[in-house]
């Protein structure tokens, strides 16, 4: 069964046949990250200018070379380091990886960052903007050519068990899909208002016995079923 979902998840298959899910970063978070990096570079250049200014010719050489390196290789250096991301990207929990989820290779990093010159055209990253907005995986030209992807770093969903709830056997046997839905409701319970929780629990009323009416009592019993399905028995 395939469903068209409004989601931008990219799946990468490992040689073991496991599909890893990568979540491409959208335009806004990448834009913020870029702005931070831009500011960092600006500050770095300012301090370099202060230091190299009084040094005469050698200082001027250092200035030109450092300017060149910052302009072209600032992202390359950080992407090839352990974090796989520039400070700006790290701040927004982004990371550059290959299309198959592996760490970025030196060649890919060089290609994606040198092609910035093409992305920048006609002005202010115009080509990159169009490319990123028109693709679900939000790649700019450099990413396309280098086969790289800017992704959100995976975030762990905290485990939440509802210790206060008494486990309750379901009133009838449940399909795996229904089991998963009830458990998913329980894990979301702490984030929902009690009214909304009651409303959603009412949809699953049948699992909690026949004579239940919507309300906190039913909700407690549905959550109890979820706990039972998770494996708690007392």
């Amino acid at each position: 069964m395939t469903v068209d979902v409004l989601d931008t998840v990219v799946t990468a298959e490992t040689p073991e046949g496991i599909l890893l899910e990568l979540r491409p970063a959208g335009l806004s978070s990448r834009l913020y990250a870029f702005a931070i990096d831009w500011l960092i570079r600006l500050l770095a250049l300012y301090f370099i200018a202060i230091v190299t200014g009084p040094l005469g010719g050698v200082g001027a050489a250092a200035w030109f070379i450092l300017y060149f390196l910052l302009e072209w290789f600032y992202p390359v250096a950080f992407e090839l380091a352990r974090a796989g991301a520039t400070p700006g990207k790290r701040l927004f929990k982004l990371k550059v990886v290959m299309d198959d989820g592996l760490p970025i290779t030196p060649a890919a990093s060089v290609v994606r960052n040198l092609l910035r010159a093409a992305d920048f055209l006609p002005m202010l990253y115009g080509v990159a903007l169009v490319s990123m907005l028109s693709r679900a995986d939000c790649k700019r030209l450099g990413d396309l050519a280098a086969a790289t992807l800017v992704v959100h770093e995976p975030r762990a969903t905290p485990k939440r068990l509802l210790d206060a709830v008494v486990p309750l056997a379901p009133a009838h046997a449940l399909e795996p899909r229904d089991q998963a839905a009830v458990i998913a409701l329980a894990t979301r319970a702490p984030f929902l208002t009690s009214d909304r929780l009651d409303e959603l629990a009412a949809l699953a009323a049948s699992v909690a016995g026949r004579d239940s009416r919507p309300g906190p009592e039913l909700t407690r019993r549905v959550l109890g079923v979820a706990e039972w399905l998770m494996g708690r028995r007392s």
């Binding site: 050489a61 250092a62 030109f64 070379i65 060149f68 989820g101 092609l115 280098a146 995976p154």
Partner: protein, 327 residues
């Protein structure tokens, strides 16, 4: 099996894999190879966690557990399948084999790029030599005058204005300016090759105009000894970077039996080697241009001799280095 039972059963393995991975990623920094036994254990645990993830997904276990398994699998996948391309051995291989071999593999692009640079250079050079006022259609009058000053026989150092005073400063400037141009030549390939063609023709025309203008003004005796040596590295490197751009453009325009994207990706992957080599050559060129070419005390004869040696060395390196020996 309920999710909690599943978790209790495999918890130990997950924690072991987590600590192994932490140790592994910490070690990568110190470049120490992980102990063989550890690597074996890592691979075993990785395969098992893959299986467990597949099971957990099939059984629709709760999100927190799937997330944890996915993260573990992802991290272990990165640790096991990462490619190492760093290190001195890689650099040595690049210099002795990969770079010249890749240049030869792209010989058609390199020759086309060379033609794109040289033909406009010669045509514009001859035109300007015959009708010097044509220089004004390429650059404005003040720039033309500054060329004369830069290459006048009385200039303190050749090839620069009096305001730019030291070799070191020019070294830095050449690096920034020339390598940025080569990168632009490469990136221009993404515009269906048009950018790469434009940059070369434009730069060729400018160089030709300056050469023709100065020759006509009788300043050839300072200009040619100046450019002869570093151009061996500089022009060749720009041509190679541009050949990489042309290859990208070609891959986009005529992808053959692949998708355009696929063809672009594989072209870009191969072209990266051309960029490494070209950039290194431009560093060498900048050093020569700043410290050797501009030196006034060297007689032109010496400069021509060294220039010939450099041209022979560069062309010989690109043509012969790393070829399989004939039997």
């Amino acid at each position: 099996m309920t999710p909690l039972q599943f978790e209790a059963l495999y918890q130990g393995e997950w924690q072991e894999l987590e600590t192994l991975l932490q140790g592994f990623f910490r070690m990568r920094r110190s470049a120490a190879a992980p102990a063989a036994r550890q690597g074996e254990r890592l691979a075993t645990l990785y395969r098992r966690v893959c299986e467990q993830l597949a099971l957990a997904r099939a059984r629709s276990y709760p999100a927190y557990m799937l997330d944890r398994l996915e993260q573990l699998t992802g991290a272990a996948h990165q640790a096991i399948y990462q490619r190492r391309e760093f290190g001195l051995a890689a650099v040595k291989r690049l210099v002795s084999l990969d770079f010249p071999a890749t240049v030869r593999a792209h010989a058609a692009y390199v020759l086309l790029a060379a033609a794109l640079l040289l033909v406009p250079m010669l045509i514009v050079g001859l035109l300007v030599y015959c009708r010097p006022d044509l220089i004004l259609s390429v650059v404005d009058a003040r720039t033309a005058a500054s060329f004369e000053e830069m290459y006048s026989p009385t200039a303190e150092s050749i090839g620069r204005l009096r305001t730019a005073n030291t070799d070191w400063m020019m070294f830095g400037y050449y690096i920034m300016h020339n390598i940025s141009i080569s990168f632009q030549c490469f990136a221009g390939g993404l515009l269906a090759g048009v950018g790469s063609v434009f940059f070369l023709v434009y730069n060729g025309a400018i160089i030709g105009a300056v050469g023709g203008y100065l020759t006509e003004h009788g300043l050839g005796t300072t200009f040619y000894p100046f450019v002869a040596t570093h151009s061996a590295f500089e022009l060749t490197a720009i041509v190679i970077a541009d050949a990489a751009g042309l290859r990208l453009g070609h891959a986009l325009l005529l992808p053959g039996r692949r998708t355009r994207l696929d063809s672009l990706v594989s072209a870009a992957r191969r072209c990266a080697v051309l960029l490494y080599g070209s950039t290194a050559m431009l560093f060498i060129a900048a050093g020569i241009e700043a410290f050797w070419s501009s030196a006034r005390w060297l007689p032109p004869g010496v400069k021509y001799g060294v220039a010939a040696a450099c041209w022979l060395a560069v062309l010989g390196y690109l043509t012969f280095q790393g070829r399989a020996r004939a039997a």
